[in-house]
Amino acid sequence: MPVKKPSLLALLLGLIPFVATCFTVALWDRVDPMILGLPFNLAWLLGWIGLTSLCMWAAYRVETAREKKDGERR
């Protein structure tokens, strides 16, 4: 059954949000400086929700371009 693996580039793009919002928690989990009135950790996560969408949009472009190329080759 094993299906076609995602491309390395798409996987790397997917890894960015994990680094930013999960593994690096010790670096950004603080109150100051407050941004737009929000504690820094909350503002950081909210900002990264938007940036995650951007990363995944890029991954989407990578994957669809690859599928299109595969389709032409066939």
Binding site: P2, T21, C22, I49
Partner: protein, 475 residues
């Protein structure tokens, strides 16, 4: 009319309206819930926003997230990260699962394991774990309904009678309308929920502090440690955060009811596009956090954090508005609860009982058994809800500790040719056993690590190690 009569009447009216809409709209048409969440169907932009954002407001996020923001503080932030990262993971597995589903005509999660690993027993085990993890999730919804009725009645109706009433209502709701009506009711629920979230998320900090910024400034001054991890807890620090986020984001796509719905998508591409857009809606969850954080200084000393949101709404707004928020919250519990009850009852009858014990059963008999199971499962969840004082977030984490144990079997099954059935089966059994043992003996977190994550790591190790020692399972 007394305030309690007003708010209860409004709640009843909203729930009644929901049921009526369900009857009118969904009676004869097959309407799958997934159809609301995937694919373009020509809704206006605003309606589409309301629907998508509303999907994220469950009893868990609505009462539970605000409750944790109130009682635990910083660790609550894990919710924003796990929802976002859960969709990132879904990008890499759901389209593939969908493709496999199309190829082999799969309908449920057990079917996937059955086809991939060719083992009836593994499929049955997946089914047992699936039904078991849905029960704390269901317990969560019932506890939430109990809290809503209790607070909205200004404490005149106790939590236990409130839960009993809610379960009777819920079972009647499932019997009367079935899952077909649920999609339409969720339109009303999503609409009310988003309107309520904006009204209280912005309104409550404004009423008490003059804005969101001043509220956080006051909280940072009075209780600076509350806003970071481990917040008001002793052991929910950064290790807990990382392990919990990894566990729950891996589990997000593993729910039995969600997994089955994946197969109904029109194409794999839709699932991928969904994964790009869905994280954005998680931003609206911050509104609920604002309410919980405001409550810290405004209504201190509540015995149960899950009461925080409704208590502060009751104190800040007139009774009719408490009724609106409570009614939206009640629908928010009833909609997923009916899906959970139906999924677990059907899984039990169709994927467990018939293949294992009674292969000769007709479809009619299976349907009858499923209906009987609706009552049994509701009863078990009610019993658990009335006999435990676990917070809503802890209940969800308990479910996640179990449901995430499917992750290795799914990912390895999709991407690794060497994987073997004994490896996946042994890994899953060990993972579930470790998660259950650590949690039930109150060892969660385990040396700072989320118990479910410890189980998941061992699960992966055994699945990979044993697969290398046994012949690969070809499907």
């Amino acid at each position: 009319m007394s305030p309690s009569a007003i708010s209860l009447a409004v709640i009843l009216a909203i729930v009644g309206l929901g049921v009526a809409i369900g009857f009118l709209a969904g009676v004869r048409r097959k309407m799958n819930l997934e159809q609301w969440t995937v694919g373009g169907r020509g809704f206006g932009t605003l309606l589409m926003f309301l629907l998508m954002a509303g999907e994220l407001y469950t009893t868990f996020s609505f009462l539970g997230a605000s409750g944790w923001a109130y009682s635990r503080g910083g660790p609550t932030l894990y919710i924003l990260a796990y929802i976002t990262l859960g969709y990132v993971i879904s990008f890499f597995i759901l389209p593939q699962i969908w493709e496999v589903g199309r190829k082999y005509q799969l309908q449920t999660q057990s079917d996937f394991f059955n086809v991939r690993y060719g083992s009836k027993h593994l499929a049955a085990f997946v089914c047992v774990v699936g039904v078991t993890v849905l029960i704390p999730y269901l317990q969560l919804q019932i506890t939430g309904l109990g809290i809503i009725v209790n607070v909205a009645s200004f404490d005149r109706v106790g939590r236990t009678p409130a839960m009993v009433i809610s379960v009777v209502l819920l079972a009647a709701f499932v019997f009367a309308s079935g899952v077909r009506a649920v999609a339409w009711i969720s339109v009303l629920k999503d609409f009310l929920m988003v309107v309520a979230a904006f009204a209280i998320g912005i309104g409550i900090p404004y009423i008490h502090y003059g804005g969101i910024g001043p509220m956080f400034a006051a909280l940072a001054q009075a209780r600076p440690a509350h806003l970071t991890m481990p917040g008001a807890t002793a052991n929910l620090g950064h290790t807990w955060y990382i392990s919990t986020v990894l566990l729950t984001s891996a589990g997000l796509s593993m729910w039995p009811h969600g997994f089955g719905a994946t197969f109904t998508a029109k194409s794999g591409d839709i699932l991928r596009r969904n994964a790009v857009v869905m994280p954005l809606y998680a931003v609206t969850l911050a509104l609920i956090f604002f309410v919980g954080f405001t409550a810290v200084l405004v209504v201190p000393g509540l015995s149960d954090g899950d009461l925080a949101l409704l208590t502060i709404v009751r104190q800040s707004f007139p009774a009719w508005f408490l009724g609106v928020v409570g009614g939206a919250g009640a629908l928010t519990a009833m909609v997923p609860a009916s899906i959970l009850i139906l999924t677990s009852a059907t899984l039990f009858a169709k994927n467990l009982w018939r293949p294992m014990f009674a292969p000769a059963m007709t479809d009619d008999q299976v349907a009858k058994l499923a209906r009987a199971m609706v009552v049994v499962i509701s009863g078990i969840s009610l019993y658990l809800a009335t006999h435990s004082s676990t917070t809503l977030v802890s209940l969800l984490l308990l479910s996640y500790a179990g449901v995430s144990q499917f992750f290795p079997g799914v990912v390895l099954g999709l991407y690794w040719k060497r994987v073997s059935m004994p490896g996946v089966f042994a890994g899953m059994i060990t993972g579930v056993a470790i998660a259950a043992f650590l949690t039930l003996t109150h060892r969660d977190p385990f040396f700072g690590w989320s118990a479910g994550f410890v189980g998941l790591c061992v699960n992966f190790l055994i699945a990979i190690g044993l697969s290398l020692l046994t012949p690969a399972t070809q499907d």
